[in-house]
């Protein structure tokens, strides 16, 4: 037989078709900032835009509502902090939902399961009945939520039930459980967080407590410094070792952006936002949300478990053949989803200053899914980040807040949020179509 010697360098015969090039993240191939920007523009045109649409959306929302809100109140310090507090529950629930969405599954129970976690904490911390310390109440609440997630995950993986149905049923069940737990004790269904009891105070301050501005500035400087150093060190190390790395200017730009956002947040929070007296400082809820974001980002982007979550979302069969215990990973994702929902429920209880039967967990979960998808997480699995949940939560909170300022009726708020969600899923679907047409001859 004729042995054909492989030519030393193939003339790139199998290079991906033109359309596929735009799918390569620009930071992988660009050598300079200009090149990066051009590659990035090409990607945006092809629908592969990452977090760009949601950032543009946030800017648009800010501009529109600032222009039309009474005395341009929208971008005032008081309102911005208020906006963040209103969005925090959506953000955390959206981060919870991300664990299910990344697998290509869905969890419709995060609203009521999270709220049940919130009411458990509120009930346990009541000084006249359970008398638990605040930390015990919080741990119990999130653990109960985590166990609920383990139940969903087990039903979904062992009995191969659909996650949609299991969690739909679960949401209904926990709507009932919520009402039962609410009715316990002498609070006529309204256990509250008001009062001078220190344990209740801590739970109340999760949302409403503030950090002294001086400490905020110092903490911010330390965190941004550490993050910047880490980013710089990692990218520089990779550049020196000849590994794929973004250009120096892009690394610096990223660090600068992080610093600007952080300084802006602390500066805004350090402005007195009270009508009478003083109210300054970063609310506790900001570091809480950032901590959840940081821990889950490291878990999903930097650990084996996270890699497996993305692999299962991208190609379940490939993951199975690679020796990944798919059932175990899926179950843990539902545990983490419900656990995070529990944190969201705690913030919700704190936001309301107690819990009542007015909790609409059905609406919360829809907002959570909407926030994740608006932020850029795909409903089809394998694509998305917890950061998307935070950005999408800000969009939803921004719309809610802006319409509230304008005293627009709630029905219009639903309609506008729905339209924004439609735009987001359209972008998701279009970019998926781009990805599919990009690779011809897919086997």
């Amino acid at each position: 037989m004729a042995r054909v010697e492989a030519p030393e360098s193939l003339p790139d015969p199998t290079a991906a078709p033109e359309a596929a090039i735009v799918e390569v993240p620009p930071e992988l191939v660009a050598q300079s900032l200009g090149e990066w920007f051009r590659a990035w523009l090409a990607r945006v045109r092809a629908g592969q835009s990452g977090v760009l649409p949601v950032i543009v959306g946030l800017l648009l929302i800010s501009i529109v509502f600032t222009a039309i809100s009474p005395s341009h109140l929208y971008l005032s310090a008081g309102n911005l902090v208020n906006l963040f507090q209103q969005s925090a529950v959506f953000m955390v629930l959206a981060m919870a939902e991300t664990f299910a969405l990344l697998l290509g599954e869905i969890d419709l129970s995060v609203g009521y399961v999270g709220a049940t976690g919130g009411v458990i904490a509120v009930q346990l911390a009541q000084p006249v009945t359970a008398k638990w310390p605040w930390w015990g109440a919080i741990i119990a609440a999130v653990l109960v939520c985590g166990m609920v997630g383990a139940l969903w995950g087990t039903l979904i993986t062992r009995l191969r039930l659909s996650s949609l149905i299991v969690t739909l049923a679960g949401g209904l069940i926990f709507n009932g459980v919520l009402l039962i737990v609410l009715a316990v004790g002498p609070f006529s269904g309204y256990p509250s967080l008001t009062g001078n009891n220190p344990n209740l105070q801590v739970l109340y301050k999760l949302m409403w407590g503030t950090i002294d501005p001086t400490i905020s500035w110092i903490a911010m400087a330390v965190i941004v410094g550490a993050l910047g150093f880490l980013l710089w060190f990692t990218d520089n190390h990779r550049r020196r070792s000849g590994l794929v790395a973004p250009p120096v200017s892009l690394t610096l730009l990223k660090i600068a952006l992080i610093a600007i956002v952080a300084i802006a947040v602390v500066a805004i929070c350090s402005i007195n936002r009270a009508n009478i007296g003083t109210l300054v400082g970063v609310p506790w809820v900001i570091p809480i949300v950032l901590a959840v974001l940081a821990v889950w980002t490291v878990l999903l982007q930097r650990t084996r478990f996270g890699r497996y979550v993305y692999a299962i979302g991208g190609n379940r069969e490939a993951a199975r053949r690679a020796g990944i215990k798919v059932g175990t990973v899926v179950t843990w994702c539902f545990v983490l989803c419900s656990f995070t929902a529990g944190i969201g429920g705690l913030l919700y209880a704190s936001y309301l200053g107690g819990m009542s039967n007015n909790v609409n967990g059905g609406q919360l979960v829809l907002y959570a899914i909407a926030a994740a998808v608006i932020g850029g997480t795909s409903l089809f699995g394998g694509r998305g980040k917890v950061l998307h949940g935070v950005l999408g939560g800000l969009v939803i909170g921004g719309i809610y807040n802006g319409m509230y300022l304008l005293s627009i009726d709630v029905q219009w708020q639903f309609i506008v949020t729905g339209l924004v969600l439609l735009v987001a899923v359209t972008i998701d679907a279009l970019s998926r179509r781009g990805a599919t047409s990009g690779s011809t001859a897919r086997v």
Partner: protein, 272 residues
């Protein structure tokens, strides 16, 4: 069980096969998929496994990969009897399989796919630098040089590039035997050439390669040996020079070959 009637002619230089199958049988319920199959796979040689649809090629591959367990028969790995019960057993021996549907996750990049399930860690976190270095080294030695960036998602690769990544993934693990299931199906002419070059490079590295293929052009272009299955029986296996296209087609379609070719292609049905 002795291979009574099968034609197994080894060229004298090849010595002991890396993997020797003797009398392998497999049935699914009442359906007998493999009858008393013998197969020899040599290091540094490409063995093409041919056969019509339903001949048992995939079943045999999956038996070697540990996905199916054989009912009867002996596996000799480097001369020693071994038992392959699970995919893990075959991976431990150094057997890797590249399946037809490739088993790559589109949303992950090349490095992530190549290390999927065997990620390297440092302090409990993924050691991306190490993995990227090892992956790019493997791709470089296999001369898979057409990808723009080793960090691009697999979704953005062409069919040939995807196949190359799947093959590179298989050889990363000091594997000794790589089985390729229809590696050139659905590829264009240029991409087929690229993948066949890659298969040759695996052989040149001293690996045993088993390639399932329908495409006789590919078979005659790269294979050192050809083995033909017909309705679950191994009807012939020999050096490629002992065959021509017509004889292979006839073995594949009828299980025998009537025109004597200087004795080279003469074969009888495997006994069952």
């Amino acid at each position: 069980m002795e291979p009574v009637a099968q034609v197994v002619r080894d060229s004298p230089s090849t010595g002991e096969p890396l993997l020797k199958l003797r009398g392998v049988e497999k049935h699914f319920g009442p359906v007998q998929a493999l009858y008393n199959v013998d197969l020899d796979l040599y290091a540094g040689q490409i063995t093409a496994l041919c056969g019509d649809n339903g001949a048992g090629k995939s079943v045999l591959t999956k038996c070697i990969a540990g996905i199916y367990q054989v009912d009867h028969g002996e596996f000799l790995w480097e001369g020693h009897p071994v038992h392959i019960h699970t995919p893990r057993d075959s991976a431990k021996l150094g057997i890797e399989t590249v399946y037809q549907d490739l088993a790559l996750a589109d949303n992950l990049d090349i490095v992530q796919n190549m290390f999927l399930g065997r990620e390297r860690l440092r302090n409990g976190l993924l050691n991306e630098d190490d993995m990227e270095r090892a992956a790019s080294q493997t791709l470089a030695t296999l001369r898979v040089t057409t990808v723009r960036s080793i960090r691009q998602p697999v979704a953005s690769l062409s069919g040939g590039q995807r196949q190359s990544v799947a093959v590179a993934k298989a050889v990363m693990w000091n594997s000794k035997l790589v089985m390729l299931d229809e590696p050139t199906a659905a590829l264009g002419v240029v991409q087929t050439k690229m993948v066949l070059d890659l298969v040759r490079r695996l052989r040149d590295r001293g690996l045993a390669v088993m390639m399932i293929s329908h495409n006789l052009n590919d078979v005659f272009e790269v294979a050192d040996r050809i083995a033909v299955l017909y309705l679950g029986r191994m009807v012939v296996q020999d050096r490629t020079s002992a065959f021509d296209r017509q004889s292979v087609v006839e073995y594949m379609t009828t299980g025998g070959f009537r025109q004597a070719q200087g004795g080279n292609g003469e074969a009888k049905h495997g006994s069952s």
